[in-house]
Subunit: 314 residues, 2 copies
């Protein structure tokens, strides 16, 4: 289906559906494309909130599909992404961020008139650019870019759980052509999971999460890589304690997912990584030059900064 | 008291005490110099294991002394380190690692004949060098260098708890003149806390913990320092999630303690920090040159390495 047609349908149908008097009729059919930790947890959360009429799911990995059905995460495992979305009012693309275009292209011809499509990607400018490309030059009104600030280092539908988003932030990054009703549909769904929904500009989002999330993942992977290279790596790892465990937890995250995120947000990540290397070189100079008071002052500033914001960190 | 005299006493008294038939008589009086998280937790653990006859304590911060008494962590708060150790069979120096020499010098003249002195410092070569210096050129047989691989990011006696060492490792790094009975006394005490006691060469210890503990603290402090410098630091910190919280937890650790550790183990830390910077520059080059497959392979290696040893990490 051509995007322009779908855009007209979006305005005519989404709005009328949302204006309906019968709340029960409004309970949407959900399709989840990508049955991993996030897709699975969203399905579980919406089911336990009784927020959806039915959940269709698809994952290119058949084992994930079967597990999702067996675990009761979805009602129907579809044979293709297109089949999964045919009856869906809301379609969630919960795929690694560089698979967004491919997933959208796969579902586009099968979308119901008035369906809202949303994603869960960790980078928002790349997602909007991919959607724009797939939809022939504009981001359609019915697409809602979203990013739940929640996750664990685990992957796969078996690791999913309904409470993952409770009390966590969900960032919406509306675009220029955004349909307000579509945005509200996605906001309402996420609120049903217990998430706190906030809005933000996509570029701002990417800059902030490069700092709080993408850079730390790069640092954690790099640190573990360094330690695993030496000849005494076995002795080193077997002597690790609780500080090491927490510091490196994110290095157990999905390599494909994080490859995608770093690649999709490369300019921001690169800028921060360069700044981080400079900061470490300063630290190196302090130690080399035995500027111990300055080193302690740096530690103190960092602790104070972290403690100041700790209450805000979920 | 001159070290040589004390060394003779150590051999004559420690051995005879440990050969005694009456186990009850062997329950030692403990002195803890430095009533922080580690000193406080050790006192609590030994008391709840009914392993000590009495606990005397001293801390240069009077508030910590008073809190330790009020919380029932120690029996008597002494007015000085010397007073605290006067009746003690085992003296634990639980001070920031660069205060070891000062603490030992303070207690040395007041030590009971046969008393065993031990520490909890995170660097072992520096501790043994400081002890050697204070004792006029040799590490005395009655000194036992020890390092519990346990802690939290919190500081102070109020944060201490009896279970801190349960199932955690306690490293002993015996020295050339080590009295075997003194070593066994310290081993037995730590075993009563639930710790798993292992032995290691002091130099090996310092190399391993530079990698698993000292470097990650430096990285975490440096990362938080970087993020706190930008003009949008407030927005960044207030958008941090669970990954950030765990990755930076160790940046809330005591700046003085970590200043001491980095300073005491500077050559090892510097070597690893230099290697880490090189590793990050490789990562930077992979991103700049868009070598995405190599980047993902690196992430995969790191995850595999961490997962392989995860079962060993307490």
């Amino acid at each position: 289906m051509h995007c322009a047609t779908r855009i007209r349908q979006c305005f005519s149908r989404t709005d009328s559906r949302l204006r309906g008097n019968d709340k029960q009729k409004m309970k949407p059919v959900l399709a989840v494309i990508g049955l991993g930790l996030i897709g699975g947890s969203l399905a579980r959360a919406l089911r336990s909130a009784d927020a959806v009429a039915a959940i269709h799911g698809f994952d290119p990995d058949d084992a994930q599909c079967q597990a999702a059905v067996a675990l009761g995460v979805i009602d129907h495992a579809a044979a293709s992404a297109a089949e999964a979305v045919r009856e869906a009012d809301v379609v969630v693309l919960a795929v690694p961020v560089l698979r967004t275009a491919e997933a959208l292209a796969a579902v586009l011809p099968a979308l119901k008139p008035g369906a809202v499509v949303t994603d869960v990607g960790s980078t928002k400018q790349s997602v909007l650019a991919d959607v724009q490309r797939v939809c022939g030059g504009t981001v359609p009104p019915w697409f809602v870019a979203a990013h739940p600030i929640a996750g664990t280092e685990k992957s796969g539908v078996a690791a999913s759980f309904a409470e993952l988003f409770k009390g966590k932030r969900l960032i919406l990054t509306p675009h220029a052509a955004q349909n307000a009703a579509a945005l509200e549909t996605v906001r309402a769904l996420w609120q049903m999971t217990g998430a706190r929904v906030v809005q933000m500009d996509a570029a701002r989002h990417d800059a902030i999460f490069a700092a709080t999330s993408h850079l730390p993942h790069v640092l954690a992977y790099s640190f573990v890589e360094l330690l695993s290279q030496g000849e005494s790596s076995e002795e080193i790892f077997s002597n690790a304690g609780g500080g090491f465990r927490d510091f490196t937890r994110i290095a157990s995250s999905s390599p494909q997912m994080w490859h995608d995120i770093v690649r999709a947000n490369a300019p921001e990540v690169l800028g921060l990584l360069t700044a981080q290397i400079k900061q470490l070189q300063k630290m190196q100079a302090l130690i080399e030059q035995q500027q111990w008071a300055d080193l302690q002052a740096l530690f103190e500033r960092a602790r104070t900064a972290r403690e100041r914001y700790l209450a805000d960190i979920e």
